[in-house]
Structures are given as C-alpha cells and as structure tokens.
C-alpha cells in the first residue's frame, strides 16, 4: 500500500515555546504547595470542636503570627501571596495544557472506551473549575464576610456557624470538598510521576498514599460543617 501525503497538506508545526513537561512541573509544584496549605487549613477547621473561644483565638493568632517582629498580619499576607501565586500558576498550566490537548484531537472518536482511567482522573478539569468557583464563594463567605449573614464584623466562629447551618451552603461545600479529594487522588499520583519520582516498584505505594491523603483531607474537611449542620457544634 502506498502511504504518501502531499507535503502541502501537512499543517506547519508550531514552535514549542515552553515544553509541556515544564508546564506539568509547574502544575505539580504549585499543587504540592496547595496540598500543604490544605493540611494546615484542615487542622485549623478541626479547632471548631474545641469551642468558640479556642477557634476565635486561633483565628486571631493567624493574624498576629510573628508579632512583634513582623508587624500586623505580615505573615498571613505572605501566606496569601504564596497561595495566590500557586493558584495562578496551577490554573495557567492547566488551561494551557487543556488547550494543547483539545488541539491535539480536533476530531473526536465516534466510539471511545475508557480502559485504565479512574473517575478521579476524568474529573480533573471540570472538577478544577468547580473547585475554583467554590474557593471564590468560600472567600466571599468566610474571609470577607460579604455573603455571610454575620457580615464582616462577626466573630470567625459565628460566621462559620451562620454559613454551615444553611444546608445549601453545607451541600455545596461537601460537593466541592469531595471534588478536591478526587482532585488530590489523581493529582498526588500525577505530581509524583511528573516530578520523576515514581517507578514500577513505588507505583503501588504512591497510589495508596494518594488515596490515603485524599481521604483524610476529605473527611477532615467534612467533619466540621456537618457537625454544625446537625447541631453537634453550636
């Protein structure tokens, strides 16, 4: 069989500006920063079980870390800047790779069967978009108090109660946290691969660790809002 293509019909390859693997590494490292933050955030949330005073005191401490050497909320703002950079980098890499993947297969299969992919890996992109929407709502609700009935001047503990006593908010929160859990299930494994730290021997361990971290974080984040919803914390 002759397999000849007219050279004029080949699309001119675009110059690769930044390699896709570099973008993946940016995604992995920013992801690790965000996972570390999530662990600290979860521990903070669980302080709700220690009572209003303890929780509010913890919140106050976050705003005064390093005082008086560091003035005011310097440390908190440093953390916020690092997080913002990580989130922007993560989204930039994701959008850029998403676009590259879309261009790589303009005509879809009529029939396509998934053989190896997990549900978690399939929800990375749209799951990520939903998580972003949630994070924006979450900051408006509990950091800025803009959409919270206690408003900006309420105590952190009271704002949290006001938020999670509303079942709609709690359900949105739960869906988002479960999506975060699935995002981490695939993300932790993928980051290990991307940073070149996986191999055939470690693969099983890495996957178990990814599931374990994702599960612990998901449960840890769900405990507080559901305890509030069911009146265990008030």
């Amino acid at each position: 069989m002759v397999t000849v293509t007219d050279s004029t019909q080949r699309r001119t390859p675009k110059a690769a500006k930044t390699t896709s693997v570099f973008k993946k590494a940016v995604m992995a490292i920013s992801g690790i920063v965000l996972v570390l933050y999530l662990i600290a955030h979860m521990i903070g949330n669980l302080k709700a079980f220690a009572g209003a005073d303890e929780f509010n005191h913890y919140s106050e401490w976050l705003r005064t870390i390093g005082n008086p050497a560091l003035p005011g909320a310097t440390a908190l703002w440093l953390i916020r800047i690092v997080l913002l950079v990580a989130v922007v980098a993560h989204i930039w890499a994701a959008v850029s790779l998403w676009r590259q993947a879309r261009n790589a297969r303009p005509e879809r299969y009529v029939t396509k069967k998934a053989v190896a992919q997990s549900y978690a890996s399939r929800t990375m992109r749209w799951g990520g978009v939903i998580i972003l929407a949630f994070v924006i709502f979450h900051i408006l609700d509990l950091t800025l108090g803009a959409v919270n009935s206690e408003g900006r001047d309420g105590e952190p503990f009271d704002r949290m109660l006001a938020s999670f006593q509303n079942p709609v908010v709690t359900i949105f929160y739960a869906i988002s946290v479960i999506l975060v859990g699935m995002h981490l299930r695939h993300g932790i494994w993928s980051a290990t691969q991307t940073l070149g730290q996986s191999n055939r021997r470690r693969e099983v361990t890495v996957n178990y660790a990814a599931t374990a971290i994702a599960t612990v974080l998901t449960i840890g984040f769900l405990l507080t809002p559901f305890s509030i919803l069911f009146g265990l914390i008030d």
């Binding site: 069989m1 693997v21 790779l97 790589a104 029939t111």
Partner: protein, 267 residues
C-alpha cells in the same frame, strides 16, 4: 445416548460469524469522513482482524466499490505498521497489535466500530490509514546515539548492569505503532517518547547525549501538536508491548534534570 463413536468431542460444529462493521471512510486528508456500515458473513474465529478486513475488501472489490485503506505490513506483531481503533479501544479488546487480534475475541452477530488513530499530529491519509511520520521526526530530534560505525566493539568492553539492560530492553520493545497516542485522552505521544528516552538513557552508549536527547525529543513532540501527559494510563493499557508508566516518570526526571543542567531545545 449423547455421544457416539464418531463424536470427536470438540463440541458443536463451528460456523463462521456474521458481523456488522461500521468503518470510518474518508476519501482524503481534507475531505470529511463518516462511518459506513458493512456486513461480512462466514468469518472464521481463527482469522486475524486484518484478514477479516481483507474479506471485507474482496467483497467491496467484487461489488466494484472502493476497498477500505488500512496500514499493515509484517502481520506478526513486530513492525508497528497496523493499528486501528476497534470498538473504542486502540488495537481492540486484547493487549496486542491489530494483526495479532483474532476474530475469536468477537461473537457471532457483533457490531464492530473501526476508526483510525485520531490526533492532529496523525493526519488521515485515507480511511483507516494515518500519517505517523510525526513519530519519526521525534526520533530524528534525538532518538539515536552518535557513534562511528565500523567493526562491532568487544561486547565486554562496556559492562551494563543486568537491571538496566532489562529495563532498557523492555522499553526498546516499543514498535512505534502509535496506539499510545490513539488511546490517550490528550492525544499525547508521551509513552512513545518516554520508551525511547528510557531505552537509550539507561545504557552507557546513550549517556553523552542524554540531556540534549530528552529536551529535543519533548520539544519536537510539542511542535508536532501532540497533547501533554496527564498520567491517566490509557497509553500503557493499550500498548501492545506493555511499556510501563515508569518510563514516563523517567522521562520527566531526565527532562527536569536536563533543564536544570542548562540543556535547551534546538530551535
């Protein structure tokens, strides 16, 4: 009496299978294609998938129709020339090449969808035949070692640890069929490139060009318009040679090391 002297014990007499095929027909690279339905009858379960397509083509030629174009060469599972997506799976339901897939993997009355590899880097030439020269250009970008030819050197002059030799050989079994690209949700050629980077990077002869190789091969695969890897694993599950995801981790490790060491892709 259920058995008689003449019963050979092979069970009911095997009859050929009747199948409905939905095949992607596309006249040329720039023409729009579509799925066309054909019937084939009396297909032996011992036929290979390609032999079944041969039967279809003979039928089409007899009717005065255009036969279905598909790539094939050795039909022994070692050349990497054949490959179509069968019922949504690259090379079909068995982890082997299309030529080594046999019709016993299907049942009488089955409907089978047959499509080409789909990726912008693999433009369709006609029907099921795609242009995979993008993979050749990735090889040209660094998938080689520069050594003078001549008499073979003494085999014991360069010792290779057994483990490295085994892993390099596993990676070297890649036949470049492109099933990894076809199966990947991102149409990424990562498993192919990773197999080549692993194969050469684990051996002493591959060391001098190791950094440049990985940087240039990855840059070329991006230039060709393949997608990026998201470590989903469809590639490895579809690979007729079972190349493992470990090779991708090794490519990433090599690439990040090479970038840190200052290696940059040739433009």
């Amino acid at each position: 009496m259920r058995s008689s002297v003449g019963d050979t014990g092979t069970g009911p007499e095997k009859r050929g299978m009747n199948l409905t095929l939905r095949v992607w027909r596309q006249q040329g690279p720039t023409v729009k294609g579509k799925m066309v339905t054909y019937k084939v009858t009396d297909i032996s379960p011992d036929m290979s998938f390609l032999e079944m397509l041969d039967v279809l083509n003979e039928q089409l030629i007899m009717q005065g129709d255009d036969p279905v174009a598909f790539d094939h060469d050795c039909r022994e599972g070692i050349c990497g020339m054949c490959g179509v997506v069968i019922n949504g799976e690259a090379h079909g339901p068995q982890q082997t090449t299309t030529c080594q897939l046999h019709m016993r993997s299907f049942k009488d009355g089955d409907s089978i969808d047959i499509e080409p590899w789909r990726a912008s880097a693999f433009p369709i030439i006609k029907d099921l035949a795609v242009d995979r020269r993008a993979l050749d250009r990735i090889i040209q970008a660094g998938g080689y070692i520069s050594v003078p030819t001549g008499t073979a050197p003494e085999a014991h002059a360069t010792p290779v640890p057994k483990k490295d030799a085994d892993n390099a050989f596993d990676a070297a079994t890649c036949i470049g069929c492109g099933a990894c690209v076809a199966a990947c949700p991102n149409a990424s050629s990562m498993l192919f490139t990773a197999a080549k980077v692993t194969h050469l990077g684990l051996l002493p002869q591959g060391q001098p060009e190791r950094n440049d190789r990985v940087v240039n091969m990855v840059a070329q695969q991006d230039r060709e318009g393949f997608g990026g890897c998201t470590n989903i694993g469809e590639c490895s599950a579809a690979c007729p040679k079972g190349i493992s995801m470990e090779t991708i981790s090794r490519l990433n490790h090599d690439l990040l090391g090479a970038l840190r060491a200052g290696a940059r892709p040739k433009s």
